[in-house]
Symmetry: C2
Subunit: 221 residues, 2 copies
Amino acid sequence: MSSDPAPAIAVSTVIFGLRAIERSEHVVLSLPLVKRVREPYLGRWALPGGPLAATESLREAARRNLRATTGLDPKHLEQLYTFGAVERSPVDRVVSIVYWALVRTDEADRARIGENVRWFAADALPQLAFDHDEIVGWALKRLRNKVEYTRIAHALLADEFTLADLREVHEAILGRRLDPANFRRRIEATGTVEATGRHLEGGRHRPPALYRSTAQKELLL
Amino acid sequence: MSSDPAPAIAVSTVIFGLRAIERSEHVVLSLPLVKRVREPYLGRWALPGGPLAATESLREAARRNLRATTGLDPKHLEQLYTFGAVERSPVDRVVSIVYWALVRTDEADRARIGENVRWFAADALPQLAFDHDEIVGWALKRLRNKVEYTRIAHALLADEFTLADLREVHEAILGRRLDPANFRRRIEATGTVEATGRHLEGGRHRPPALYRSTAQKELLL
DNA sequence: TCAAAAGTGTTAATCCTACACCCATGG
DNA sequence: CCATGGGTGTAGGATTAACACTTTTGA
């Protein structure tokens, strides 16, 4: 045992949302980052995060932090991993418990964005502070994996959506096109969506049916 | 923010091994527990664990701890989850980063077992201290899940093994019998094992071929 | 009436499971 | 030569991927 001070605990979050791309109909998987205003890594972009208060749970800390820095309220919030390498911060020993979150597209646009907070496309990130590049890599891997066998994609959409919307989410996350016919059948087979009976009018073509996520278990927590 | 002291960090491990069952040819998934020698939960069984030293990584802490309490050297060691509910310890605020480990059957028998350390069958555990019941539940779920799509089962076996050995491991973890023919084909198709060319002599019947795990990536870390 | 997305149908390839069957060994 | 686990073969069902085809709308 040494006489070094005890390691500090921090909680950070990787927040994913879909953002419309300029002069395009596509959306791209994005995340908000905050610019560091002090050393170390002054001026670098980093994940939102902060210390764990003695009276809050890890999840509460993640939610509070996320709210404070971006004003966002996630629809999905889940623990990712805990990073504790000795040298991950050049100045002090910090163990970071990292959560990842999904926010609805329509809410992501309302996010409080200032000088020091900005959205970045997930496939075009700057070099981040600390080991945050590695952390985002983990989060992306987990997201891509989970979208295949859970209903988390719903957490990125509003209450009502078309199957094309849902497919677009999957495509943005996976980074490849999916066959609309097979996608439809696959989703219908899972029973995670149900038709609302309404249709989305005003499109350029045949109006698609609107669906909602079937109420089931917690998606939020 | 409050003026309460900062939460403490602990690292705990769930260690799985296969143990022969008395007067039976079967093995059963088991884990070593330590009896608490102080309050809170004095006398209750608990997971091995201890504080994180300032100069060691989380993984190193897990490995050191595991060595100190059981004398075991795990063949697989992986972070499970971090537990940080405010009330999980009745006396102080502790955030526990939990790892889970697999040890080889032949080494598990050599484990240093004393008055305060004992193996328990995973499906017949006593009531544990703190939230350790919940933690073991998580670990079991993860193990059962991972055995289906990774080669972790190899970490429970010696260097050379028969497919029946490997199948026995899968069966002990999953808690159900598997078709030997289909199991063989499934494993062969993954390319995770290769025949050594040798056979296990001295059995009561046709001598089965011996296999080894194909060298690939780290299984240990 | 045309373009394009919504939605349905079909087929072939693949994978999984159950189970029949042969092989090799100790007793 | 028999019981038993080792090991191979195979047929049917389920799942998947590719793509042709029909429907419905706005322009």
